[in-house]
Symmetry: C2
Subunit: 264 residues, 2 copies
């Protein structure tokens, strides 16, 4: 969706390792926004994005108009069932239907051999994998690892909207992920104990409200059993209060990590 | 869906005129059936279908297994909004989502340049056109004209299940279409007068119950205005009572014609 940052550019680097030609799509997709003012207000700077892509040796930028992907009279939507329901799907009804719909169209229009999506949007990646595989679209879907600031905060164009106190507190997300990973490494398998530890860290961000902190199956996104018996996605979302000196809108941050209990 | 008859073979002939290689897909699609016993009971005779295709010089028959088109854990569905709501969509909830879902997968698997569907299933054709255009699938969708028995009854594998009286009465559908076409040719433009004329003919089929008789925009399937101002789809569906000597299930028949009022 443009507003490119170093996180996006890491996907370009990964693409370069896998393909002779690297294309970037830039498209602010109206069908994945819950409300139209969010869509209208989404940051757009195509010239700056093009300059960044040029400097990184991107071979082609595909920046369609809305009417190119949504023809007049358009009615078709791609839904992905249960994968779209939990986590971010619960707070953003219709969001993942919009994502699956636009990515299906982008893949069918651009026909890449490999398509790369960031792992920060883990649920989005799961939805896209499922959609492409179910429909039989001839593409390999790859995830790109989360890129972090020096203090661990996952890169996001939203980080710039955090006030100075919130910016410091935002490190609570990665602290919570690290703590859970350490606990699992030390043998902890109890879901509720892990989530309690996670919440203890998130509560240090006093300017933030918890949206969700959940452990789910990384493939199906179904809840994990009370005692972890395999890889588990730890997914977090918090919302920071508006910066009193800032633009005045709350800032929603997400982060995640797949926890890998050693096999007994 | 197999159970090939002369109507299907007319599509093969049309394909031959448009393509060097003619493929036929044969797949009884579980997701377009409202109930599982209909799916289980749907007539299947792949050997007979293959023999027919061989005799007609079909180059390849694509007959996937259910698991080929619906992989384990499948969740993805393709919906087409308002086009799926009226007419057959009203009596068969979910049917056209199943149709759009399977045809998207068939098109993406077989990658034809041209795909041909019978005009008897007019709404299905409209749904498929919309879906392929909206998703940007690289295919030309063509309709094949309805093929009829000598007395005018549209070909359908269901016709064989009509008892002798119902079989005679079934001609009421094409009589109603012919009457409406004549009325339009004679200058009638009033929607309600046309539909009254249609119903008079359908009522001669005393063993049948009317499901719908409607005039709708051929592209959007929206209702036409009280006075016809352009092409109008006349779409009919009736259900014949079970043949007392037959298999004991009601037989649903559909037929349609696009009425073309001369421009003033």
């Amino acid at each position: 969706m443009g507003a490119l940052h170093v996180g996006h550019l890491s996907l370009v680097e990964l693409a370069r390792k896998r393909a002779d030609l690297v294309w970037v799509s830039i498209f602010v997709n109206p069908t994945q926004f819950n409300d139209n003012s969010d869509f209208e207000g989404y940051p757009r700077d195509l010239e700056a994005d093009l300059e960044i892509c040029r400097n990184r040796g991107v071979d082609l930028v595909y920046a369609p108009e809305v009417e190119d992907l949504y023809p007049v009279g358009d009615q078709t939507r791609v839904g992905v069932g249960d994968l779209a329901e939990p986590l971010c799907g619960a707070s953003r009804p219709g969001h993942f239907e919009g994502v699956a719909t636009v990515v299906a169209r982008l893949l069918l229009a651009a026909k890449p051999h490999v398509a790369i999506f960031g792992e920060k949007d883990f649920q989005q990646l799961a939805v896209i994998r499922r959609m492409a595989s179910d429909l039989g679209i001839d593409v390999e879907i790859l995830g790109g690892a989360i890129v972090r600031e020096p203090d661990g905060l996952a890169l996001s164009s939203r980080n710039a909207r955090l006030g100075p106190i919130a910016r410091k507190q935002a490190v609570a997300l990665v602290d919570a992920l690290d703590a859970a990973e350490r606990a699992v490494a030390n043998g902890e398998r109890a879901r509720d104990a892990l989530l309690a530890e996670v919440r203890r860290h998130l509560e240090t961000a006093t300017q933030a409200t918890l949206d969700y902190a959940e452990l789910r199956d990384p493939d199906t996104l179904e809840p994990v059993p009370p005692a972890l018996d395999g890889p588990a996605l730890l997914a977090l979302a918090v919302e920071f209060e508006p910066d009193p000196d800032g633009a005045g809108k709350p800032v929603r941050l997400i982060d995640n990590r797949v926890l890998l209990p050693a096999q007994p």
